[in-house]
């Protein structure tokens, strides 16, 4: 069970590091997508299929689509400029994997502390996802409606071409 988990976490984490590390944006986005899929697997493994499916469809799919759209809309750089950009990029990021490794190691070595830090021993809850969502999280649903409206109006306001645009 634990080993299983560690492997899946690795499947999530390594693409994420690549996403940060890759010099070209499109590669970063694809790595992010892969990491999201890894996260989905982790969520499935935690017995949270609904969150997993959501993560896969929205968190991985929709966001990747949005990012790819944006990246393709940006102007590509000239050859020499992009080479220079790459070198600078790697110079800034090469410490990241080392930091992450160290941080992970330190955290893992101190894991007893963390185990004791979580004192709760809760009982298994029988309510289903739907019951909780509709029965208890009504306010969140209203909030979701609100934020979706914000998104819709936001995109309308930001992209509608009026007199003041351009």
């Amino acid at each position: 069970m634990e080993l299983h988990m560690v492997l899946l976490i690795a499947v999530t984490l390594i693409p994420m590091i690549i996403a940060a590390f890759a010099a070209e944006l499109i590669k970063s986005v694809i790595a992010l997508l892969v990491g999201s899929v890894g996260l989905t697997l982790v969520l499935f493994n935690l017995n949270a299929p609904i969150a997993g499916i959501f993560e896969l469809s929205v968190g991985a799919g929709l966001i990747a689509v949005l990012f790819i759209l944006s990246v393709s809309l940006t102007r590509p750089l000239a050859k020499e400029e992009s080479a220079e950009r790459k070198r600078q990029h790697y110079r800034r990021f090469y410490v990241l994997p080392i930091i992450i490794l160290f941080l992970g190691l330190i955290l893992y070595l101190n894991k007893d502390f963390w185990i004791n830090a979580f004192p709760f021993t809760g009982a298994q809850e029988s309510a289903s996802f739907g019951e909780v969502l509709w029965g208890r999280r009504g306010l969140d649903l209203i909030g979701q409606i609100g934020i979706i409206l914000v998104g819709v109006f936001g995109v309308i306001v930001l992209f509608r071409r009026g007199k003041m645009n351009e």
């Binding site: 979580f118 004192p119 709760f120 208890r136 009504g138 306010l139 909030g143 998104g151 109006f153 003041m164």
Partner: protein, 481 residues
């Protein structure tokens, strides 16, 4: 009943695109109606004293578990402030040169921001609070960038990134607390927090960091002047007057009261951060040459006061903090209204190009004097009472040094506000400005309203105390011991 606070502005926003097609004029009146409705309802509740006596009448406002909403003294003050500030924002927007084609969308976003703030204020669980917080933030990003200018985009992006970090930390803290308590409502969290331990400490640290970032306290203030300065004038009224206060300060007060209690480590930290913000914010304001930037730094400084009042950890301090929160919403939006009026009349905010405007713009000049005196805490205006209560509370709680800081920061406050007054309004009229005229009544009436509130809540302090601040005391019953 309480749900109306969320649903009315939400519906108002949702019908905007329809209204735009069928009744163009309605797009102007709906936001006004919605905000006036909020002011009247909240004022009525305050006047009736429904939440005055704490728990008994409190129960009536709690719906069942589906939608656990609550109205208590603190949220009452916040709702009133939200109503007032958004009302004057909308009123100011009526004549502000916005792109007509996108105006309905603009109003919709303002109403959604109001929805978010109202929801945040009446929510009783941390996660819902986060969702509404995010509505407010995302709506503000768009509003800041509304005019497509470079500064707006940049201010918006900075606010966005820092706020993203803040919400991530807030959510991780929620997750940590959820792991040990098994719930996200304030009650459940408070139960779990009592057990203590490192996880509680870490989550409180995360929340503290997130809210300090959101409220723009001193080490994390970088985004705030940029966002305020870059946004269109009416948006900066909304932003400075209420959005950052609800997003940062209100949430902090609420969480300290209901979940964490007055933890001494964090209260001391809050006290220090508050004092640093108060003093440095005032000093930075002293060096500004831009009307709005000066006001933005002044906001940082005033937030420091509120935090210090909260950190005193006594009922008196809490009352002072809440009253200053309310006053700050009023006088800061008044000053931003004035800056907006000056900008519309003269086309600039730079002190070097302004001067002697009081002659030409008597209403703006007079109301700005009232606003600045209230900010500096000069009696008998409202700002004086709240600062006085905070200072008394700090002294009585034994934080004498901080009481000193609070007192002397108000001198610096007065100094930079006099600088502002001298450069913009007082004195002889600058060359090239002889032709300017007072802005239209739609623009200056909001300023008069705000100035009147400042004056009367100062003079009628006993009434304000009875109706608005006394209910805050009932909160102490909720205080996590």
């Amino acid at each position: 009943m309480l749900l109306a606070y969320i649903l009315v502005p939400l519906l108002g926003a949702a019908i905007m695109p329809i209204l735009r097609k069928i009744w163009q004029k309605g797009t102007d009146s709906v936001p006004i109606l919605v905000t006036v409705y909020q002011i009247i309802i909240t004022g009525w509740i305050a006047y009736q004293g429904i939440v005055l006596n704490g728990s008994l009448n409190l129960e009536r406002w709690i719906l069942d578990q589906v939608l656990a909403l609550r109205l208590d003294g603190l949220s009452l003050v916040a709702l009133l402030a939200i109503g007032l500030v958004s009302f004057v924002t909308v009123l100011f927007s009526l004549r502000y040169p916005l792109d007509e084609d996108r105006r309905p969308g603009y109003y919709a976003l303002i109403l959604l921001a109001v929805t978010g703030m109202n929801g945040l204020v009446v929510a009783t669980d941390l996660f819902s609070m986060y969702v509404f917080l995010e509505i407010v933030s995302v709506a503000s990003f768009i509003l800041i960038a509304y005019q497509y200018d470079e500064f707006g985009m940049e201010g918006s992006f900075k606010y966005m990134m820092l706020s993203a970090v803040a919400t991530v930390f807030l959510l991780v803290a929620v997750a940590l607390l959820f792991a040990i308590t098994g719930g996200v409502s304030f009650g459940e969290l408070a139960q779990g927090v009592k057990t203590g331990g490192p996880v509680v400490f870490i989550s409180f640290a995360f929340i503290f960091f997130a809210l300090a970032l959101k409220s723009g306290m001193m080490p994390f203030h970088g985004w705030l002047p940029d966002a305020y300065t870059a946004s269109p004038a009416p948006v900066s009224i909304l932003l400075a007057g209420i959005v950052t206060k609800i997003a940062g300060v209100y949430t902090m007060i609420r969480l300290v009261l209901e979940v964490f209690g007055f933890n001494s480590v964090f209260m001391n930290l809050l006290l220090v951060v508050g004092a640093v913000s108060t003093v440095l914010g005032a000093f930075f304001a002293l060096g500004q040459k831009d009307f709005k930037r000066m006001l933005a730094y002044s906001s940082i400084s005033q937030i420091g006061y509120i935090m210090m009042g909260l950190a005193a950890g006594t009922p008196l301090g809490l009352i002072g903090a809440v009253f200053h929160f309310f006053n700050h919403a009023i006088f800061k939006s008044l000053l931003f209204l004035n800056s907006g009026a000056v900008e519309t009349a003269t086309g600039t905010r730079n002190f070097d190009e302004l001067g002697g405007l009081a002659e030409k713009m008597p209403v703006t000049g007079t109301t700005s004097v009232i606003g600045l005196l209230s900010t500096a805490g000069i009696p008998p205006l409202a700002g004086f009472w709240s600062k006085l209560v905070i200072i008394v509370a700090l002294w009585m709680a034994g934080f004498k040094f901080f009481a000193f800081i609070a007192v002397f920061a108000s001198i610096i406050t007065l100094a930079y506000l006099l600088l502002l007054q001298r450069n913009v309004f007082f004195g002889k009229i600058k060359q090239g400005l002889e032709g300017i005229r007072e802005v239209s009544p739609v623009v200056y009436w909001p300023a008069i309203i705000m100035a009147a509130i400042t004056v009367f809540s100062g003079i009628l302090f006993p009434l304000v105390y009875d109706k608005l601040l006394n209910p805050v005391n009932s909160l102490l019953g909720l205080l996590a011991k």
